[in-house]
């Protein structure tokens, strides 16, 4: 339960809309619940949910579906409206969402979730070197997009 809010935040930075993010996170947990018999034995089911949510949040087609559902719910006024982040922070995450999807996922997991390179590699099922490369390229791309000083 306490895992829900961090997962919503993860979905938000990758999709850019709080309502959609909550629906994506909810979908992720519902999928987890349906497969509970299979994933309950995982050492950390949260990691599994994060991977699902990462994929949901960057998949355009799936995102459109949950956005549509979120719109219906908003129309029924079941949720309060959300205040946006500060402009600088909003710009940063908007830039992240313009990155290639793997780079965006790595940035979200590394900075927002504060996961180690090794844990991200495990979660994304790739080599640590690959994660580092994605992170490096993401920083370079972000520096260009934001007009900031990069780390390269």
């Amino acid at each position: 339960m306490r895992e829900f809010e961090p997962v919503v935040r993860l979905a938000y930075v990758l999709c850019g809309n709080w309502s959609t993010a909550e629906d994506i996170a909810q979908d992720g947990f519902v999928i987890a619940h349906r497969k509970w018999a299979r994933i309950a034995d995982y050492d950390k089911p949260e990691a599994w949910v994060r991977r699902v949510v990462c994929d949901l949040a960057v998949s355009v087609i799936r995102r459109r579906v949950v956005e549509a559902k979120a719109l219906v719910r908003l129309a029924r006024r079941q949720r309060p409206s959300e205040e946006p982040l500060a402009a600088a922070d909003e710009d940063f995450w908007a830039a992240v969402r313009r990155l290639p999807r793997r780079q965006a996922q790595v940035v979200a997991l590394y900075y927002l979730e504060d996961l180690s390179i090794g844990n991200i590699a495990g979660l994304m099922e790739c080599a640590e070197g690959t994660v580092k490369a994605h992170l490096h390229k993401a920083r370079t791309n972000l520096a260009a997009l934001l007009g900031e000083e990069g780390d390269a």
Binding site: V30, A86, A88
Partner: protein, 436 residues
């Protein structure tokens, strides 16, 4: 302001947000109640069945056992799976692959670090030492006794006579300076087998002694180990140098994640892993002549993700790890003849939904045993594991009470007979390398 600081600030801003999710919480409460009701119903059913008759119940279980489980392959296709192998889970020789759950495999030998003495009598008989990695380079007797740390580093490889050890160490200064992948910060060191006389001899990864102890094969990562397409994986090359670091010579392209080059006992060949034509990300076992032009792929017919070759002491066979077909969740130890014939799998197959890997085989000098690393999905998927108050590893659950996450699940070293029988848990660690 740097990208780094922007990222930290923006992350903090998002973390400060509170989200409301009444619908989801209600859903979970209902779901939990429904699950409890189902469990209660099952318990009632079982009690009724027990009271009713023992014989019909046994039939129920027999029938249940015949239902073929299914697995979801990499591409989401449901396929029937063969019956689970049972023959290896006999007595105390319980193979980790025969365990029903990955997360508790180390309990099979009741050999968590705090309980090691209880399993002393169950250990593998036979001599030899094993060098291995576990937050440093360690050595122990093959039965797990008399272990001691030799150096800071990883991936030890003892010389054929067991008197010198090559290993890898990360240059911390370089690692701190480098903002890009730090594989260029890996250094190859050599030392005596008691940890003395440590010397850096070159830059690279996965050193391997030649049989005469005069040369070292090793691997270097490509300058860009992370291509856009993660499925193709990183790149690297196998090199050979003199044991003092001189005369570095390029030998072949390799796949650095699965490589561990190994010298044949006759000193003529080096086995290593390299991308194969089996598909994206696929690797095969290759052997290349050290001082000649010949290079051969072992068309072994195992899975797409082969790596970690280890020669048998007579040089006639090669043990390696591979996935079973395209099932990357099932990485096991295989043995194949030097000419590619007689492929056989030594460890049981696995059809679970989580990755289970048995990696990095190493043949004992007398050829009777093979050490390997057992890697449950904790380390593989970035999940964590918990230990309960008795220091036993627990699976599943969203941080259950009394069980706090304690980092990535450990990798464990096992030793089995060379025919795959009698696997025994030896110690927590990885990259075992047998030595006289």
């Amino acid at each position: 302001m740097t990208v780094e600081s922007r990222a930290r600030t923006a992350s903090q801003a998002v973390r400060a947000r509170e989200s409301t999710a009444p619908d989801f919480r209600a859903f979970l409460r209902h779901a939990a109640a429904a699950r409890r009701r189902r469990q209660a119903a099952v318990v009632s059913l079982v009690i009724a069945a027990l009271v009713g008759a023992a014989l019909p119940l046994s039939r129920v279980y027999e029938d249940y056992g015949r239902i073929a489980p299914t697995q979801r392959g990499k591409h989401g296709v449901e396929t029937p799976t063969p019956p689970r192998a049972r023959t290896r889970s006999q007595g105390l020789g319980l193979h980790p692959g025969a365990e029903p759950r990955i997360g508790i495999a180390p309990q099979a030998g009741a050999a968590s670090p705090g309980r090691r003495t209880e399993t002393q009598a169950d250990r593998v008989a036979g001599g030899g030492r094993i060098f291995y990695s576990s937050n440093g380079v360690w050595v122990m007797d093959a039965d797990g006794s008399d272990r001691k740390q030799l150096a800071v580093g990883s991936k030890p490889d003892p010389s054929f006579d067991g008197r010198r050890v090559a290993f890898v160490r990360v240059n911390d200064e370089c690692s701190v300076r480098s903002s890009s992948p730090n594989v260029e910060c890996l250094e190859i060191w050599v030392m005596d087998d008691d940890g003395s006389d440590q010397r850096m001899v070159g830059r690279g990864d996965w050193p391997a002694w030649s049989p005469d102890g005069r040369r070292i094969a090793f691997m270097r990562w490509g300058s860009d180990p992370g291509p856009e397409d993660v499925y193709n994986g990183p790149t690297g090359d196998v090199y050979v140098m003199n044991a003092d670091g001189s005369r570095v010579r390029l030998l072949a392209a390799t796949h650095p994640d699965r490589s561990r080059p190994r010298w044949s006992p006759d000193g003529r060949w080096i086995a290593f892993a390299s991308p194969s034509d089996g598909g994206p990300g696929c690797t095969g076992i290759y052997i290349t002549e050290v001082d000649g032009p010949k290079q051969e792929g072992l068309d072994h017919g195992a899975g797409c993700r082969s790596g970690g070759p280890s020669w048998s002491p007579d040089g006639k066979q090669i043990a390696f790890f591979s996935s079973r077909g395209s099932n990357s969740f099932d990485m096991g130890i295989y043995v194949v003849n030097r000419d590619g014939s007689s492929l056989r799998r030594l460890t049981p197959t696995w059809d679970g939904d989580r990755p289970r890997s048995m990696l990095w085989p190493s043949w004992s000098p007398d050829g009777s045993r093979i050490a390997y690393t057992f890697d449950s999905d904790g380390a593989f998927t970035g999940g964590w594991y918990c230990r309960d108050n008795d220091n036993r590893i627990q699976g599943g659950g969203f941080q259950p009470d009394g069980c706090q996450p304690s980092g990535p699940a450990p990798e464990e070293i096992y030793v089995m007979n060379a025919d795959g029988s009698s696997p025994r848990h030896v110690i927590q660690g990885r990259f075992p390398a047998f030595s006289p």
